[in-house]
Amino acid sequence: MSFRTKVFLSITATVVIAVWIVAAVVSALVTDSFERIDTQRTAALVGEFRHQFARRSDDVSRRIDAIANSETVQRLAVNLSGPQPDTAQYVDEASALAREQSLNFLELIGPDRRIVSSAEWPARFGYQENWLADNTNWSRGVFLRTEELADGSALGLVTVRTVKAGDGVLYIAGGLELDKGFVDTLPATEGMQVQLYRNMGAETAGNMPPSRLASSLIDEVRAQPRELTRTGVASSITAIPLLGIDKQLLAVLLVESSRAELVSLKRTIQETAWGVGTAGVLIGLVLSFWTASRVTKPLRELATSVQEVAAGDWGTRAAVRSSDEVGRLARDFNHMTEQLTEQRDRMIQAERVAAWRELARRLAHELKNPLFPLQITVENLQRARQATPEQFDDVFRESTQTLIAELDNLKTIIGRFSDFAKMPAPQREPMDLSSAARDVARLFDAQIHAPGRPLVEIRFELEENLPSISADPDQIRRALSNLILNALDAMPRGGRLTVRTQSAGSPGRVAIEVSDTGDGLTAEECERLFTPYYTTKQQGTGLGLAIVQSVVSDHKGTISVQSQPGKGTTFRIELNR
């Protein structure tokens, strides 16, 4: 993850978390405050309902009292007291009396509990009102009752009065409807709504279909009549059961307080939080870019310089733009590269000197060996000329043969150095690596099986159908020859030489390995193995593996060595097909 991304995420996370915390706290405070006010408003409305209910009850009582004391009712009572009461002429009286007293319901009911006159359902005269029998001692109380109507029923706030009529009583039952008009008189503030839902068996009836929340609340109250409050997303609803004289549930008053204002407020808070959060993200983005440009640009430049140095460009310098830590880092980097360059130059110089010294040593060593016989031979010739001139011819002949042999030896040595110096460019042609390996190994059969030499077993692990490669066969054979020779030299006490060809791990490449079971090499030896003129042998020139590496390199291949002291060494060459 880049520094810029980290800076961006840090700033964004800081801003977003801060905004979220503030928004959550404000939202919680607003909700709490709103719900407190909502509870107060609901309580006030419920109180007003109870007040209006009581006021209407008083109204009903007063009006029914007036009717009970009216001349019409008294006349009816007298009529009913007679031997053959004729109530037919009173059939319309309830309507007239109800109109006079502005009552919605009024029934004049005879001692036999048959309706003499009904205001709410005039056609019901003569029908019995059996519910009156449930209470023989009507108090002056007002109660709720479901009044049957021609087109359904209505919830009434009613009371009953009795007037003596002969041996019996005349019942005056009437009241006011608890309807939308009554509900509308309640001083509901803005956002509050009062609904009256009547309990009608399996159903409820109201001015409008209840919401889902209200519906479930009504069901709860119907199951167990009690005051309940439920809060939903859009509103909070308080349900008040309205019971009849026998405590049966007749209706449910719902006081619904809209939470739209709260929802709106919370939405505003949320939107503000989102806005601030988004602004924070944008600010984070800008800040991260700015910070990155201020902080990471020098670092990126420094990183680029490091990569260039790693790529071999030792002259690269990091720009020093500030005097802070990054600036000091750039200065130190430049100082370091300068030091490294100086050290490298010194090392190259030293190595060059060492190489020349080694070359001189080798040359001296190689040349000294044939020169010493030459010197001895020439001195022998001089001494033989002076001391034994008669034998001089024989000595001369032997000495010249020796001189020629040593000169050839010198010529060979010089030829080797010359060959190494002018390695030709590979002449590529298709070749079978496995057969080349087998052929080269067979050249060493005579050496391997020379009398007195410890046994060296040769094992070929050559992959059949190994694809041919494009390479210079002479150079490859020469490289293989050097490796096999080295392997044989590494096993003076005998052992096993393994030549292995196979497809390399990478597609289109083949590999050849030459392993011995000699003494192996140390890690340091492995590191210096391909250095020209470096040898671990007493008689080596140090050019063999250097030539191998040169050949492999010219074929765009790779050479590696694996060795463990005491267990042997394996050289592996990978070449492109």
Binding site: V91, W121, A123, G126, Y127
Partner: protein, 438 residues
């Protein structure tokens, strides 16, 4: 003792004379009539009989026994087995415009009226005699001649009603007020009253005569008023307009007619079980049946739930109240009956005037009023069994539910007097026999 007897005689004579003086008819004065109903034209269909017969007269009239008697006609003679009738006209009868009544003026009016029921009727006029013929027969022509629809009335060039009755139209404000003036040249003698003012749509009971409607608007009848009640002369019935017969039967069994008559009609009528009232036919009791809610419930349960509507006239508050009660009775047996004013319900509540003492004519009128397509053929009054069979067939079709036969009730102020004709079943008041105290 003789003196005492003499004093007793004088006192008795004085009291008798005084009483006679109070009840003796006197000429003059105006009779104010308040009617709760209204009408907008003076033709026979719209105008109530109580007013109509003051201006228009028929050739015959029904007596108390329901037997046609000559009125504008002086007599009639049945010929050709009732297919031809020779009708003689009363002499010296004048229309309100002074024209003398003769066959030439009567024939076109009568022909137009009879054509409505007898398409092939033809009238030959000659002097004071008319010959009325019909190939299909006119068995009850005298009774038909007593029907108000065959009244001999016409209109003049100002569209005023011209009849031969004891009163002529003095002024007419449609739907509001009708003023009648005594017709001095009335062939039966000038009426006692000089004039008669009819206030229409009046809810007051302050006139000399006022009707007492069956339902609201209520009127407070003054304690001093006398009540006059007609014989049941109006049929209240439910007629089916496509409702299933089983449903009609169930409803008929559910309805309790007693409360309708006794309470809603305030006993101004009798429960009806037939189209024609018993006083007119004498056989209505044969159709009597008591409500049977159990049987009605069985019938209703066999019907799949249907929405049935009972319609009634929107201006008739009495019909509304009756419809409400019927809906309540129907609900008691599980029948959902909707009531609706002025709509084409499957059931219709109908009030039909039977203002005639002729049973056959009344049955025809009732069938016509109820909108029955298979109304009975022209019946012969002389064969009551055919009348019974015809009415029975109508009732057994399960398309009718007779509910009540209703009376007309009027209140009369103390200053109003009239000659009691002694009729057992009076159909209507006859203001031409009224007089008033000054």
């Amino acid at each position: 003792m003789r003196l005492r007897a003499c004093l007793w005689f004088v006192l008795s004579s004085f009291l008798s004379c005084s009483l006679w003086g109070e009840t003796r008819p006197r000429y003059g004065g105006t009779l104010n009539v308040d009617l709760s109903m209204t009408f907008n034209s003076l033709d026979a269909e719209a105008t109530p009989l109580v007013i109509w017969h003051l201006t228009g007269e028929t050739l015959a009239r029904m007596d108390a026994r329901g037997v046609p008697q000559p009125l504008l006609a002086s007599g009639w003679q049945r010929e050709a087995d009732g297919r031809r009738w020779r009708v003689s006209l009363r002499a010296d009868v004048r229309f309100h415009d002074g024209e003398l009544l003769n066959s030439g003026s009567v024939a076109p009016i009568l022909l137009a009226a009879l054509k409505k029921t007898h398409g092939d009727v033809a009238i030959t006029a000659g002097g004071s005699t008319m010959v009325v013929e019909s190939a299909s027969g006119l068995p009850n022509l005298p009774a038909e001649l007593a029907d108000p629809h065959t009244a001999i009335v016409r209109t003049n060039e100002t569209n005023s009603l011209i009849g031969t009755g004891p009163f002529r139209v003095a002024s007419w404000e449609a739907g509001r007020r009708l003023s009648l003036a005594a017709f001095g040249d009335y062939w039966g003698g000038r009426p006692f009253l000089d004039s008669l003012v009819v206030n229409l749509g009046s809810v007051r009971a302050t006139g000399d005569v006022f009707d007492i409607p069956l339902a609201s608007p209520r009127r407070i009848v003054p304690e001093t008023a006398r009540i006059w009640q007609s014989a049941p002369r109006e049929l209240l019935a439910i007629v089916s307009q496509g409702a299933r017969p089983e449903l009609v039967q169930a409803l008929a069994l559910a309805i309790d007619r007693g409360p309708i008559v006794n309470v809603l009609a305030q006993r101004k009528g009798t429960p009806a079980y037939a189209l024609l009232p018993g006083w007119l036919t004498g056989y209505e009791f044969l159709f009597e049946s008591a409500p049977n809610a159990g049987r009605a419930r069985e019938l209703v349960s066999s019907l799949r739930p249907v929405a049935v509507t009972l319609s009634y006239s929107p201006n008739d508050s009495f019909a509304h109240a009756v419809a409400d009660r019927i809906a309540l009775n129907a609900r008691d047996v599980g029948l959902a009956l909707q009531i609706s004013p002025n709509s084409n319900g499957a059931l219709r509540l109908v009030r039909c005037s039977l203002a005639t003492a002729d049973a056959a004519s009344a049955l025809t009128t009732a069938a016509q009023c109820l909108g029955l397509e298979d109304r009975p053929a022209v019946l012969d009054n002389s064969k009551p069994e055919t009348l019974y069979q015809a009415e029975r067939a109508l009732l057994e079709s399960n398309r009718l539910i007779p509910l009540a036969h209703l009376d007309s009730v009027y209140g009369l102020a103390p200053r109003v007097h009239y000659r009691d004709p002694g009729t057992a079943n009076p159909i209507t008041l006859h203001f031409d026999d009224f007089w008033v105290d000054p």
